[in-house]
Symmetry: C2
Subunit: 337 residues, 2 copies
DNA sequence: GTTGGCACTCCCGGGCGACGAGTGCCAGCG
DNA sequence: CGCTGGCACTCGTCGCCCGGGAGTGCCAAC
């Protein structure tokens, strides 16, 4: 079956290129892997693989490197996610178990992921819309300035400032608070807007409607409700030397949380790790990077995503394993909460 | 007074080097600035300046570049902070006035500062210890899991999870909440610990003491209470090409908030802008960078710092102006709150 | 279908020399 | 005494050439 051997050659090329970062030639290939055939044979296979668009050569008379299509095939068919070593497992447990609150879990995860994969890690904060409201509070900071505080089932705390046109008394605030709290407690955020409207608070242009407006806005707002923590940006340094052109746009993108959210994509349940390779995504600046991501959340419900972004030339099996392991562990922590 | 001219030469060297990023020679100097003397004269002055350790040449027969000491003199005696243009002032106002809450103010500031200076911006979140407690709340997330929420005068919200050994009832929680709230409301954080202890809650090893412990810890904790927002990391790309050696450690340091806090230093009042040049600081990786920082806060009280870090070869007058302007504006916003 | 042989391509690194920017020094001038 | 023009010198940069070597594609043979 020379067809099978060709795929073995592809796998070998990917593995070698990932570890050496240099185009790999036929001779080195048969030496480093026990392929049992001669370099000439491998050359024929390589020609065929190139014909199919799976590998390419940077210039004539250089070795081959995988194309995006080649990586895709590698990820889909040629690799199995390697399990984490027990030492790594312990490290994950040790680091994450000390977390104090949700923010801390996210921050530790992002660090951990960056450390494990030596790449840039992304961890999305649990989405608001799927959590339920545990507690609602209204605090009067100043006579015309109220702070709405929402505490969610995931442990997340959302806050929102409201300016009102007329001064309010403490009694007003207390009344509003208990009324709203009663209406909102235990609701899923996504539905809460509706039940809020059905409360039928008079649109008097005054305090009550202003607060309700702000609440509704806060719950549907994507500004703060969809945040992403970034870690390990220093690992971009391993990108080679075409600095200003390749790294700068990436660093810029890392500050655009909207872009990062798109990169992470829709939350997926069930432990599936998604890999997006090179220009499979819509972003020009990520054309030479791959994104490995998966969902996490309590139970089987995915409330957010996490993952890493690194050069297309990355260790896919190892990275996928790390991403999956961290996601599992974080999910377990949320389970307990 | 050739002494005065020498300083003029130094100033010219700094300005030229900052704008061109190349060693500046005697001929170019007299052409670009109206010094009114010949290159030979300038060369003599340069020799003297080099003697004093204010400038240096990368190699024989190259132009001169300022040393850290040279920049220091430039900053201390040779420059006045240029006022911001009215367009810039408007930009600051427009961007910051739309802020929704404290977090938003900080995030917008850090972006703005990075944009104005084309450097890496740092904004410290207002220190806890100087703010007063506006509101204290305790929420039971689960029977053995409580969430303490502190709302501070600066608009900041602090949260802390507490695990207790035995299940608590809602009534217990309510009782504890009102008691603590009464004791803490309006206190300055720094003093609150003391008044908490004087409450004399029995150290029964149970719920109450656990909560009090956590509260005290939360208030004295430097983990979350001293956070720093970072922005414009992409501007590190302008650092030249010795990538892995010069940029990577900086990127790493930018994720170490402890380091950043040290860089920003003690909060200063009164609109003084502090400049730390090159290896004047303790950190090896910041030996080729300068930090321009100042304090901000409501009234004349500095509750936190903000600033930028960039290459020693930076536009000091412009940067100092931007830092000062943003600090002033942010302070004004906190005033209103 | 596999293998060894062979000519060919082309990148990479080192050595070399011309060029030019910039300096230091010196003698002369106001 | 300080400024100036002149001049020799240094040294990094750039373009160039060239040999070595890795790797390929093709072909004939098994």
């Amino acid at each position: 079956m020379q067809d099978e051997r060709r795929l073995a050659v592809l796998r070998a090329i990917v593995e070698d290129y990932v570890s050496t970062q240099e185009p790999v030639g036929s001779k080195a290939l048969v030496e480093r892997h026990g392929l049992g055939v001669s370099p000439a044979t491998v050359r024929n296979d390589m020609a065929a693989l190139e014909e199919e668009g799976l590998i390419t050569q940077p210039h004539t008379s250089a070795g081959r490197i995988p194309t995006d299509k080649g990586y895709r095939l590698f990820v889909d068919r040629l690799t199995t996610i390697k399990p984490m070593s027990s030492a790594e497992r312990r490290a994950i447990a040790t680091i994450l178990d000390g977390a104090l609150d949700l923010d801390d879990v996210v921050q530790r995860s992002v660090r951990l992921l960056a450390q494990l994969t030596h790449q840039v890690a992304l961890v999305q904060y649990p989405t608001l819309s799927k959590s339920t409201i545990r507690h609602l509070d209204i605090v009067d900071l100043a006579p015309t300035r109220l702070l709405i505080v929402l505490i969610l089932s995931t442990g997340r705390v959302e806050q929102r400032l409201v300016e009102v046109s007329q001064p309010v008394t403490q009694d007003d605030v207390a009344a509003l608070r208990s009324r709203l709290a009663a209406a909102m407690d235990g609701r899923v955020i996504a539905d809460a807007g509706a039940s809020l409207r059905s409360l039928d608070i008079p649109d008097d242009g005054g305090v009550q409607s202003a607060v309700v407006e702000a609440l509704i806005e806060a719950m549907s707002d994507h500004r703060s409700s969809e945040r992403v923590a970034v870690g390990g940006a220093a690992n971009l340094a391993r990108f080679g030397d075409n600095f200003e052109v390749s790294v700068r746009p990436l660093l810029e993108a890392l500050e655009e949380h909207v872009v990062l959210l798109k990169l992470l994509g829709e939350a997926q349940t069930g432990g599936t790790v998604t890999v997006r390779i090179g220009h499979e995504g819509p972003y020009q600046q990520f054309a030479t990077t791959s994104v490995v991501s998966t969902g996490y959340g309590p139970g089987d419900e995915a409330v957010a995503n996490l993952g890493v972004v690194g050069p297309t030339r990355m260790d896919y099996p190892g990275t996928m394993a790390a991403v999956r392991a961290v996601a599992r562990y974080v999910s377990r922590i949320l389970d307990e909460a």
